[in-house]
């Protein structure tokens, strides 16, 4: 059973004397949560690409992925938020950390990462942000009338709603992903196997 936003609304309304932050009601609370977790997301992402040590980077990536899961809850996508925490922040990050431990990296093995590409990277960053800004502006002008957040249907984002879609309209892609995973497993075993030579 997921906590719906109306329940959060009720909790915050009933406690608004204790928490002046929430006294603006649901809209204010949503805004505060969005900005806090968006900032955590960006901070985690910046830490990922600036740390020298891969273990620190992996743990910062967990911060970003978890904050994204919170944003998914804000977007009423409860099922994919749980999937995000289980698969991304859980399984994939454990895989990363396991590999780092398995490689047993020495400090000397991490010293090569000089920053001589930093200038080129910054230039690309600036260009991408510039282009992205104008793309977003054009997008906003084209679609702004359709993007007022609509009220959602009752089973939007629940396991039932997503599951029904997954097992009816998207059954073939869903089955094909299992073939993809089998292919990946076989490939991984073939690549990582120690060769006798």
């Amino acid at each position: 059973m997921t906590i719906s936003l109306s329940q959060i609304y009720f909790i915050t309304r009933s406690n608004y004397l204790l928490f002046p932050l929430f006294s603006g009601g649901f809209k204010r609370l949503e805004t505060v949560i969005f900005y806090v977790f968006a900032a955590l997301c960006v901070a985690g992402a910046l830490l990922v690409i600036t740390h020298k040590n891969p273990v620190s980077s992996a743990l910062s990536l967990v911060l970003t992925l978890f904050s994204t899961a919170v944003l998914f809850v804000l977007l009423q996508a409860h099922f994919v938020a749980v999937i995000q925490v289980l698969v991304y922040a859980g399984a994939i990050m454990v895989l990363f950390l396991f590999t780092v431990m398995f490689l047993n990296l020495t400090p000397e093995a991490l010293k090569f990462d000089s920053r001589n590409m930093a200038f080129k990277g910054s230039l690309l960053l600036a260009v991408l942000l510039f282009v992205g800004y104008f793309a977003a502006r054009g997008f906003q002008e084209t679609f702004s009338h359709t993007l007022a957040i609509p009220s959602v249907s009752e089973n939007f984002g629940t396991t039932e709603g997503v599951g029904k879609l997954l097992f009816t309209d998207y059954l073939l892609p869903f089955e094909l992903t299992s073939i993809l995973i089998v292919a990946a497993i076989i490939g991984v075993v073939a690549i990582a196997k120690r060769r006798e030579s």
């Binding site: 991304y88 490689l103 990462d113 984002g157």
Partner: protein, 101 residues
Amino acid sequence: MGVSVEHYFVLSAILFVIGAYGVIARKNLLIVLMSLELMLNAANLAFVAFSRALNDMTGQVFMIMSITVAAAEVAVGLALVVAVYAHRESLDIDLLKMLKG
């Protein structure tokens, strides 16, 4: 001042650009893979935000597919990392130029 869907798109774009920077500027193979995850995660955020904006759960189904592909990609990528490290004893991507023509 509520949060509109555009806020999520802007956040998604910022995360994507940070990830792209990591892929281009870093030389550690593991961190390049993590930056790739950041870019995929930004795309997932955009999928879910569009799903909310259009009141259509198809975006969330696509996001689940995308997570599956990301998991497969990470597994293969990390296997390659292990193989490269066993071979070269370093994770520097500049050492991998055997295929240079």
